[in-house]
């Protein structure tokens, strides 16, 4: 998720030496790397999880938002009298009732950036269908919705701003008048002389690519419950958020309640980036709870979630790749137009997504000359924000398509062309044209492994045989690299007002001997309650189930920004290691006194503390009693505080890489696409829990498959969202997703305490490109390329029609005959 600036300095690239512990100690049980069953599962499996919607507080009231049904209009009047008088209604509020709350502004030091002013409820103008305009507070959600129908809003329609290119060119239909343009930022990344080299390049391929807008579509709709303690003037927001610390900080400021706001993320039902930004509804329920002195709950429904949760991707990319006759890449040039929607989202800014397209576009390849320009254009649609992969699903789609097009032009196998240009094992650190520096990671190794798993050569032969039978089989490769676990050097560069590069941990042993570990990250499906417990348990010498993980609570840590951007294992896990090692030193010092042995001979494991090579041992409970309760055993100066707190900032980031290979078969008549196989070979460094890693890859790939084949938020010319239900916004079911074969490899461990690389987003980064390449490969005999995703059957029909490749009559040109026309039901 983080943005990247040009001109990073290479950091230390040597692998972490094994710690003394790793060398000397074999008795302490290892949990990192083991498929430990998840500690959060029993409650989630039995319906005992606690999501915001499940929470009930005395005197709680419910809200429903009146949302704009216009995409761009001036608000002339809002009449709420009838709604106020409706049964069960406690109040109806508009922006005028919250005039003491300033608009949210996502600032940035970036040049050429216009920060939009984002009101909690629309002021004067609405800028997208779904924008909150008024709010009803009532005794139940049913009654609140009844009252919504009684609110009347007079709008003066303004020109809808829909098509990004027209929006960028317009000086009259402006979403934010004060800027005089809809282009709210522009940046250029450049290395070498891309234009000149391209002009002189012996060969080149180019295309105009379109990656359509998606919804993150977490299963739990956004939900917020604010409670106000009037005696203490304390506000607690229970929020389905990925970023409780960031929300706490900004709410404290917006509500002018420094030190009086706590934000808690309980069980959260998925996020994928879509719960990684501040939402208007969080501000409003908080303000209402304070205003009314009652708990105020908002549970979004699916329709409003589709319309108003931050949306993803949505870019138009014109790109050209130049290369020589041997297939060596020479230059890449790209122009990216990002449709960012109505507002620049807090805290990431609207630049986050489109800038990452340009900064990652050169990918895992050696391309000496690069020119990339990116503009973000405001349109009258819901704001875009982070969605799993951020920018890279588009950049990888564009680049990997160009690579396949180049291979086709050269008459070269796509695998061989990748081999020729990937950054090789001995070429790291490698700085790509946008300034990103790749650390050593298994670029080539992943490509080789994926090809080996799928038996690439045999598959090519099978494809040839299938083609002779009139079957359309396609094989698509996508190789990519990403930066994960990114430290403060990079994330602060574009001038966002938060530090995403750091996390702290506190680990303590209480007076009963129980271990608690507190983090600023916020798990919402990533299994952090298990993986962080594995780390702490292994480092301290207890069992994972003995470690209570506290996360997602802004009151638990001084600073912590949450879980996003494939950061929690690297940064949170790094903090866990450093902190637990510090605590274990204390444990050993105390134990050396209690066991009358030297510190060097003290070892821990399985909940015991013992003297190596003897049967002398104590439990953690006995240790705790000696320190906290028993005033006899330890002299005062030996009663150490059994708590440690450390933070970790990787400064730069780690490089994660993978190769995805998709095998598709397209029905040559209906153009229905079926994924036959999907292979992923990835290098995420040392795995904490292979089950969890597999699960993350599977889920990411499924979202990438959805992005490639099914998912698209469609707006009409007036800005109405046509895909406002799950009937029309189609995500993959178990039938559309194949079994996913994942192969892990560790090239060299990266330079961080655990040797971890982030991997939560990768599935979504590689899969769209792999599927697109597979479809293009299947259609290659027809001379068709794929430039637009999702590649729906309708789009394939249009492409094939335009290529004049449709057989004139039904059945013509295909092997037919009754015997072969069996229905699948009877197979």
């Amino acid at each position: 998720m983080p943005m990247n600036d040009a001109a990073f300095q290479p950091g230390p690239s040597t692998p972490v030496p094994l710690s003394e512990d790793d060398v000397l100690v074999s008795s302490r049980p290892k949990y990192v790397g083991k498929p430990v069953q998840r500690l959060e599962d029993p409650r989630l499996l039995t319906g005992a999880g606690r999501y915001v919607a499940d929470m009930v507080i005395n005197r709680m009231v419910h809200v429903a938002f009146l949302r704009s049904d216009q995409s761009h209009a001036r608000i002339l009047a809002i009449r709420t009298e009838a709604a106020r008088a409706a049964t069960g209604v406690i109040g109806v509020y508009t922006a005028a009732d919250f005039s003491d709350i300033p608009p949210v502004v996502a600032t940035s030091r970036m040049r050429n950036y216009h920060a939009t002013s984002n009101p909690a409820l629309a002021v004067d103008k609405v800028r997208y269908v779904g924008e909150p305009v008024a709010v009803v507070v009532a005794k139940s959600r049913y009654l609140a919705e009844d009252a919504l129908a009684l609110i009347e809003v007079d709008y003066e329609p303004l020109d809808a701003v829909i098509e990004p290119e027209a929006a960028a060119a317009s000086t009259t239909a402006l979403l934010h008048d004060q800027f005089g343009t809809n282009v709210i930022f522009e940046r250029v990344f450049q290395t070498g002389e891309a234009s000149q080299v391209l002009a002189a390049a012996p060969l080149s391929v180019k295309g105009r690519f379109r990656f359509h807008r998606k919804s993150p579509l977490f299963m739990e709709n956004r939900s917020y419950l604010a409670e106000y303690d009037r005696g203490r003037d304390l506000l607690t927001l229970h929020s389905s958020t990925q970023i409780p610390g960031i929300v706490r900080d900004v709410l404290s400021s917006l509500l002018a309640m420094p030190g009086k706001v706590r934000v808690v993320a309980p069980d959260v039902g998925g996020g994928f980036g879509g719960k990684g930004s501040l939402y208007q509804e969080e501000i409003i329920v908080s303000a209402l709870a304070r205003k009314l002195g009652r708990p105020v709950k908002f549970v979004s429904d699916r329709m409003e979630d589709l319309a108003s949760s931050s949306q993803g991707f949505d870019e138009l990319v014109e790109a050209e790749l130049g290369f020589d006759e041997t297939g060596r890449f020479l230059a890449l040039k790209a122009d990216v137009l990002g449709d960012i929607g109505a507002y620049s989202i807090y805290p990431w800014t609207a630049a986050l997504e489109p800038v990452q397209v340009v900064s990652f576009l050169p990918g895992a390849y050696k391309i000496p000359n690069y020119f990339g320009r990116v503009r973000g254009v405001a349109t009258s649609k819901a704001p875009t924000g982070p969605y799993r992969g951020v920018g890279r699903p588009t950049s990888v789609f564009v680049l990997e398509r160009l690579v396949d097009m180049a291979a086709h032009k050269l008459g070269m196998d796509p695998k061989d062309l990748r081999h020729r240009n990937l950054v090789g094992a001995d070429e790291f650190p490698y700085r790509i044209g946008s300034g990103i520096i790749w650390e050593r990671s298994g670029f080539v190794e992943c490509l080789d492994r994926a090809c080996e798993v799928i038996d690439y050569e045999a598959l090519r032969q099978r494809q040839q045989a299938a083609r002779k039978q009139g079957r359309w089989l396609g094989i698509g490769i996508a190789t990519y690299a990403e930066l994960t676990g990114i430290g403060s050097r990079i994330s602060v560069a574009p001038g966002m007002p938060i530090n995403t590069g750091n996390e702290s941990a506190t680990v303590r042993i209480d007076s009963t001997g129980a271990v608690t570990a507190i983090f600023g990250v916020a798990s919402h499906g990533q299994s952090l309650e298990t993986t962080l417990a594995q780390i702490v348990a292994e480092e301290l010498g207890v069992r994972p189930q003995d470690v209570e993980i506290v996360h997602g609570d802004s009151a638990a840590t001084a600073h912590g920004t949450g879980t996003y951007a494939s950061r929690s294992a690297v940064i949170g896990g790094g903090a866990a290691i450093l902190t637990t090692r510090a605590l274990r030193e204390k444990v050993k010092r105390v134990a050396s006194h209690l066991l009358e042995a030297s510190v060097e001979d003290i070892e821990t494991g399985d909940g015991r503390i013992f003297v190596r090579g003897t049967d002398h041992q104590i439990t953690f409970a006995e240790l705790a009693r000696a320190v906290y309760s028993d005033m006899q055993t330890l002299p005062l100066d030996k009663r150490e505080k059994l708590e440690a707190s450390e933070s970790f900032d990787p400064y730069l980031g780690t490089t994660t890489t993978a190769t995805h290979i998709a095998l598709v078969e397209i029905d040559p008549e209906t153009y229905g696409v079926k994924l036959q196989r999907f292979v992923v070979a990835e290098d995420c460094g040392r795995m904490i829990n292979p089950l969890v890693v597999d699960g993350q890859v599977h889920g990411g790939v499924a979202q990438g498959i959805g992005a490639a084949l099914l998912e698209e938020l469609v707006f009409d010319g007036q800005g109405q969202l046509l895909t406002a239900s799950l009937v029309d916004y189609m995500v993959p079911t178990a039938v559309e997703v194949p079994a996913i074969e994942v192969s892990h490899l560790e090239s060299v461990l990266p330079n961080n305490p655990g040797g971890f690389r982030g991997m939560g987003e990768g599935g979504t980064i590689g899969a769209p490109a792999a599927v697109a390449n597979a479809i293009a490969d299947a259609l290659a005999p027809l001379g068709i390329e794929i430039f637009e995703l999702p590649a729906t059957p309708e789009r394939l029909f249009r492409l094939i029609s335009a290529a004049g490749a449709i057989p004139g009559k039904a059945g013509a040109g295909f092997p037919s005959g009754i015997a072969q026309e069996t229905n699948a039901m009877e197979e």
Binding site: L722, M730, T733, E736, P793, R798, I806, K809, G811, N823
Partner: protein, 290 residues
């Protein structure tokens, strides 16, 4: 997404249902509710009174009658899929039911509800059209029958009058030597079809004695491809003949363009599915003749 308020009445007989419908000017029947309740949750439908017919036991039966099967309006999709009677006489029903949404929806959704909802891409309206069903309707003036071509008037619009209730579908047995088949194209498992096609082919001495071809998703109602049917009847079965008929299936069609498919793409799909389904039906007809 919570429904607007309404009154509720659970009835136990057809007469009671008809009386309840007459008592309110804005009453709606609820059977399985799998199409109605979503529309109520979106507040697209806001009836004053909901008449629940789920407790009318007589409507839940599949029975053999003279010349055919009678399927009660409350028969669930899953029951029509698994009933020994439908499997024996109309295996094409199970074939089509497999495409109806998903397990939990099929457990609850009813044949009557699907017919009355009259989605032109839904399976039961197509089956009724294909199988020459007679729809049994009760109302203030007693019972009447309607044929699909008269019952389905447009997307989500039927010939049901105020106070009327669909109670059953009568399906006449297929002629001897007949085979039937169904197939559809949808983007995902369980989605409404972009195009659905059903066929019946009856053979006598290798000659097509009767042919039916029904199309869904390509018009305001399910349609019969009459030109294709006419072309087939009286001719000896061959691959070429079926392919010719399949191309005739698009004659007169003017499908809509919507979010998921253009009119042109639907027209492209019709002959493909028609050919496949006719071929399967013909193969089954040959099996039936052996």
């Amino acid at each position: 997404m919570k429904p607007a308020p309404f009154d509720y009445l659970a009835v136990t007989s057809i007469d009671e249902a008809v009386r309840a419908l007459q008592a309110s000017c804005d009453a709606k029947i609820i059977a399985g509710g799998q199409s109605l309740v979503p529309m109520m949750n979106f507040r697209l439908v806001q009836p004053e009174l909901l008449v629940d017919i789920n407790r009318i036991a007589a409507l839940s039966q599949i029975t053999e009658t003279t010349g055919g099967l009678t399927i009660g309006a409350l028969v669930r999709h899953v029951e029509s899929q698994k009933s020994q009677l439908t499997i024996r006489h109309f295996p094409v029903i199970a074939e089509a039911m497999h495409h109806v949404a998903h397990v939990a929806i099929r457990n609850r959704g009813t044949i009557g509800g699907s017919l009355v909802h009259a989605d032109p891409a839904a399976e039961w309206p197509l089956l009724a059209t294909l199988l020459d069903a007679e729809l049994e309707i009760h109302g203030p003036d007693g019972e009447r029958r309607a044929i699909p071509a008269e019952f389905f008037l447009g997307p989500l619009v039927t010939d049901l009058q105020e106070g009327e209730l669909l109670t059953a579908a009568h399906l006449p047995y297929l002629p001897a030597g007949a085979g039937a088949a169904f197939d559809e194209f949808a983007q995902r498992a369980g989605d409404f079809a972009i195009v659905s096609v059903g066929a019946v082919v009856a053979l006598r001495d290798g000659v097509i004695a009767e042919a039916r071809l029904a199309l869904g998703g390509v018009g305001d109602t399910p349609l019969r491809a009459q030109a294709a049917e006419t072309h087939l009847v009286g001719k000896p079965l061959s691959d070429g003949l079926l392919a010719q008929a399949a191309t005739l299936a698009v004659e007169g069609l003017e499908p809509n363009t919507d979010l998921h498919a253009s009119s042109e793409y639907r027209l492209h799909l019709v002959p493909i599915l028609a050919r496949r389904v006719l071929a399967t039906a013909a193969r089954r007809a040959r099996g039936a003749c052996e």
